[in-house]
């Protein structure tokens, strides 16, 4: 692998998130961001004087603000600082984390602050996402992120009954996790006994994709502070080390013509996981990682993607869900935070995955902390046309 050793290690030393909600009418955009920034600074016991560079990301057309880092300086604290704005669709939060890691590892900056933000209440989310599609060919047949094709695939492979029950089991596990997370947007208090009722009563959005299975749109912000090894050791009691990250994008249009079950199109999640684990010598990711914060915009994607990320075969991924091994306390806890299905301020969402994974490694995630020690954590981002970003976090600098 041509991949180099890092110039210097980088650790997460501060984390702040807002309460995520469908409507944060009490704050404007810079004020919302400021909440997360203030909390991250408090968490790191720093002030803005200590920050060398601010990295900002969201998607402009959701709130219709052009280059919003300019206005948001009122809340980001970037005045007088180096400031970079990077966006990559739904993956943007994860990209902010990768970029901050690179910026701090490069030696150009010692302490870098990443800020992901979205106030979806101020735009039209599905309209915004649909606007991603090519205006000449695909925009008219697109429904943004709403797609029933994964549901169709899972049902075709495992049967309607089993697929639907697995989907709703996943949904209820995420809700139980969200109920433990004070920042989560949607926390209904669902019970497993409601599965049959929900399958019957939840309105269908597209094909078999039901309303209860889809993420919502949220307002929220997340701020994570990264520091070079020396500063991280000086400043933080428990820095969480970024071991490696990978980004895998793909073509604009979905490859649907010529689809062949015998020669399936490789998925970016699978490709990214193989590359990342391969170059870090991880042969059994299901046993290596202690927790996985996965970008799960809908239950069908989530249950399907477990197979790609962990290189599982047959129905092993469904069994993980059915046997509730993905619950807090299970073999591979997925999204103790409640996941994207619980809260989805899009520009912040993938950064929240990194932040939540880091909280689990630190061991102070609060009521949704998993009970066993977390040494190795994984976070993923999803966006664009099936794009993937993966980040590995470690408790010890010993790899």
């Amino acid at each position: 692998m041509a991949h180099h050793k890092k110039n210097r290690n980088v650790g997460i030393i501060g984390i702040g998130q807002t309460k995520h909600s469908s409507h944060r009418e009490d704050v404007n955009q810079p004020e919302l961001i400021h909440e997360a920034v203030r909390l991250a600074l408090q968490d790191a016991n720093l002030t803005m004087k200590d920050i060398d560079c601010v990295v900002h990301g969201n998607m402009e057309l959701f709130e219709m603000v052009h280059q919003p880092d300019l206005w948001h300086v009122l809340g980001t604290g970037a005045y007088g600082k180096d400031c970079i704005r990077i966006t990559t669709g739904g993956t943007v939060g994860a990209t902010l984390s990768c970029a901050s890691d690179n910026l701090a590892a490069s030696g150009m900056y010692d302490i870098v602050m990443a800020i992901g933000f979205e106030k979806l209440q101020e735009g039209h989310t599905t309209g915004g996402i649909t606007n991603m599609a090519d205006p000449l060919w695909f925009r008219k047949i697109q429904a943004g992120a709403l797609t029933g094709s994964s549901a169709y695939d899972v049902e075709r492979e495992f049967g309607l009954e089993r697929a639907n029950r697995a989907s709703l089991t996943y949904r209820i596990i995420m809700d139980k996790h969200a109920c433990l997370n004070p920042n989560a947007h949607r926390a209904f208090g669902l019970e497993f006994s409601q599965i049959d009722d929900l399958i019957r009563t939840s309105p269908k959005l597209v094909g078999e994709l039901k309303l209860i299975e889809m993420c919502s749109q949220s307002d929220g912000a997340c701020c994570v502070i990264f520091a070079c090894e020396q500063k991280a050791k000086e400043l933080a009691r428990t820095p969480v080390w970024i071991r490696d990250h990978i980004t895998v994008h793909r073509e604009e249009t979905f490859n649907i013509f010529g689809y062949d079950r015998k020669v399936p199109v490789i998925k970016t999640h699978k490709f990214a996981a193989e590359q990342l684990f391969g170059r870090n010598g991880i042969k059994d990711p299901l046993n290596y990682f202690d927790v996985f914060e996965m970008y799960d915009p809908a239950t069908w994607w989530a249950i399907d993607w477990l197979r790609d990320f962990f290189a599982l075969h047959g129905d092993e991924h469904l069994k993980l869900v059915e046997n509730k091994e993905i619950m807090i306390g299970g073999r591979m806890p997925i999204n103790p935070s409640g996941g994207v299905i619980g809260s989805n301020p899009i520009g912040a969402t993938a950064l929240i995955r990194v932040a939540e994974a880091a909280l689990q490694v630190r061991g102070n995630a609060g009521p949704h902390q998993i009970p066993t020690p977390v040494k190795h954590a994984l976070a993923s981002g999803f966006g664009g046309t099936m794009w993937t970003v993966m980040t590995m976090l470690e408790k010890e600098l010993n790899w």
Binding site: M1, N7, M59, I86
Partner: protein, 384 residues
Amino acid sequence: MGRRLAVCAVAQIKNHPNYHYLRFQNMLLDCFEPIMEQTQATFDMETGIRTIITCSDDVFDARTISDNGITDVVGAHFRGEEKIAQESINGLGYAMACILSGHDDVILFMGHCKESQGESRRMVSNLAYDPFYCRPLGMDYHNVAALQARAYMEKSQITDAQLAKIVVRSRKNGAKNPYGRENKLVDEEEVLNSPLYSDPLRELHLYPVTDWAYGMLLCSEERAAEFTKNPVWITGYGSCMDRYFMGDRDLASNFSLKNAAQRAYAMAGIKDPRKEIQLFELADQAAYQLPMWAEGVGIADEGQGGQWIDEGGMETFNVNLSGGQLNGNPLLLGGAARVIECYYQLSRQAGERQVENAKRAVAQAATGGAGQHQAVIVMETQGG
């Protein structure tokens, strides 16, 4: 991995008022192919390009995640593609970090902007303002620039005649640049009689609506020889954000540019830019900005921009021999355009605009109302 970033190759299409017959994908492909041809770079996962950094803007493109539409034409299928949604020059700063961090060793950096596609660039930049106070007032980059122009002209004793001189020179220089936007040559009288746009800015004081795209191959110091015999090095980068509300800023202070320049100079080990740098490409989106940014990067004395023009400062310091942004680049890509001119000069490919013995150059870019955000790049030839 060294402490500098190698620019191994650049490609661009000609700056044009309206590429109505090209989609932005086509514009990029016309830059992508020459880069691959010049460098023979590959997308091999071991030794090739694994990371592509692009620059584009959702509002200018009227597409959410506007980089999604270019993933395949920039070679990012099953590779990483990260989008700078800010001034393109920051993409180079970020590329530098990717390489110095050890995470990457070869990066393709591409950008596009079709300003002609939007109904109005004033509408686009009006959207950069908050929807509560500034947007309803009609604030945009042009009328905010007018406020700054007034403040700066008063501070540095800039006259309408000097602004005319800057515009005339820009178009003359632009005419010598084969990739420059083709503009009518004007004389000072025409500029002085050009209609007022946002007082004191006249129509000819402003950069014209332009479409453009570019590509660059960047790599670590160790690998430069694989792609070129003649690398140009990026040795310094710095940026800085100023306050948002106009009333909170001293508009003529150059606060953010001075900080950005100092950071870039410190990284490159430059103590005296007047003696150590032979070429400057400045982001003159409006004529008054050329002397103002010259003060900001340290080649004109504070408050002496007018005198600096009269004393031939633009020629002494080889400022904007490409024609500058005033001759025409899309707003978003001004920084990349400045860097590309420095690359041509430092690699001795600048044709009749070539500066003899240019060893070090500075490219500057501004984003936001009245240059709220500034960034500076220092570039050097082999010997530095």
